[in-house]
Amino acid sequence: MNMKVNLAGVTLKNPVMTASGTFGSGQEYAEIVDLNQVGAVVTKGVANIPWEGNATPRIAETYGGMLNAVGLQNPGIDVFVQRDIPFLIQYDTKIIVNVCGRTTEDYCQVVERLSDQPVDMLEINISCPNVKEGGIAFGQDPRAVEAITREVKKYARQPVIMKLSPNVTDIAEMARAAEAGGADALSLINTLTGMKIDIHKRTFALANKTGGLSGPAIHPVAVRMVYQTAHAVKLPIIGMGGIAAAEDAIEMLLAGATAVAVGTANFANPTATVEIVEGIRRYMEAYGIEDVVELIGAVR
């Protein structure tokens, strides 16, 4: 049985990866999860300089999901290169570094810094709803998506994945813009902007007032957007958004994703990633599917 998939020239041992921001750089989860069993580890977003993130509370649980407004706290690329990459290369898994920034130059600086590093792919976060500058500011205008993709590609030595926001009218338009800019792959969806109010304290549940909604509650939205995007562009897609079980991951593959990322489910079940890999294997056995690639985009 083949579980390998080819993502923009990079071979993953299986199509299951971690979703950025939910897994740190793997150190903490490595105490509970065998990182050798996942297709790739996608790191938490890293910027050119350290970011302090937002005030607390940064998260709130919602029905079937959660809101977060962490605000891309990160230690900066220097610490990341010195500490996190050496940790990750010990494992037999692919390393995908999520890159964030406030300006195009910030993104390019990080991408350039990573050019001689042993990382397999770059995921460019132009879709974080929780920071005022950068992030989503680049992700809601197709011209901006195309422009930043083109700039980042000038500095990138590894394949570039553009991570798209669902907070747009037409996801296909954003996907085509990234493709036009030279993206090698797409990740979708990032979180949906939401709000929760604490009725007892009569205040916002998050210090940032709004946050990004993730978890099973958003899964059908993600499946729809992956499907639409798969039919709009030729680029391989990493599908994410509320994947909590193998069934959700398989659904995403059938909709057109080449790989899937597991995010919020790691909080509900720290071993979710490896259980999903095993669940896909069992599904393939049950249906006599020899190659996981047969599932990709099989529902048209």
Binding site: I59, E61, G65, N68, V70, A268
Partner: protein, 256 residues
Amino acid sequence: MAEKFKEQAVVIRQEELAYGIYSMWLKTDKIAAQARAGQFISLYCRDKSRMLPRPISICQVDAADNALRIVYRVAGKGTEEFSTLGTGKEIEIVGPLGNGFPKKDKKAFLIGGGIGIPPMLQLARELTCEKQIILGYRDTLFLQEDFRGLGKVYIATEDGSYGTEGNVLDAIRENGLTADIVYACGPTPMLRAIKQFAAERGMECWLSLEEKMACGIGACLACVCRSREKDSHTNVNNKRICKEGPVFRAEEVDIG
């Protein structure tokens, strides 16, 4: 680094100590044997519409029997679900998490306020120094009997129904108590006042903080607090309460 485990724990027994305050003993495989005062466990709901684990501090450890006790307040649907679990029911937990209280051989105040009282019980059991245990309640007492024999116990109630009328610092002043070190857990306004009280008297002070958490193991960066120095892991002035804490030296952290 201390090991942590994901386990199906089994409820040994559960009882309601006071209105909405529950005591649950759990049989664990490995967690209890590793657990120390001031650490916590993450408890997972069966109803998967509630995704996030509930971090609850460890109240008492019976290492010989691999059992641990939590005493918690029903604050929402997750803790309400836990409160219905009877003897023999299973619950998924991860732990032990965080760092416990440092144990110094100095004349100590152990101060607990409200639902911050439970971790003080295990601390009182582990500390061998001279202990003055100060417990603050709004009105209804719970767990105070369990501290008997572990140190001299002082109680404050906001409504004056028992002990000193007022807060834990009022109880300390009313009884003319002194100590060289303070260990405290409770609501933030209480911790803020204790931090100032200790600083004015040059006392060593350790506080157990809480914040909304998602992963509970240091990956998601939800539960941070502001720190005076740049943290060596985060490389900014934020410390992870679940990982570097929940117990911090008072001067290290900014609690508003």
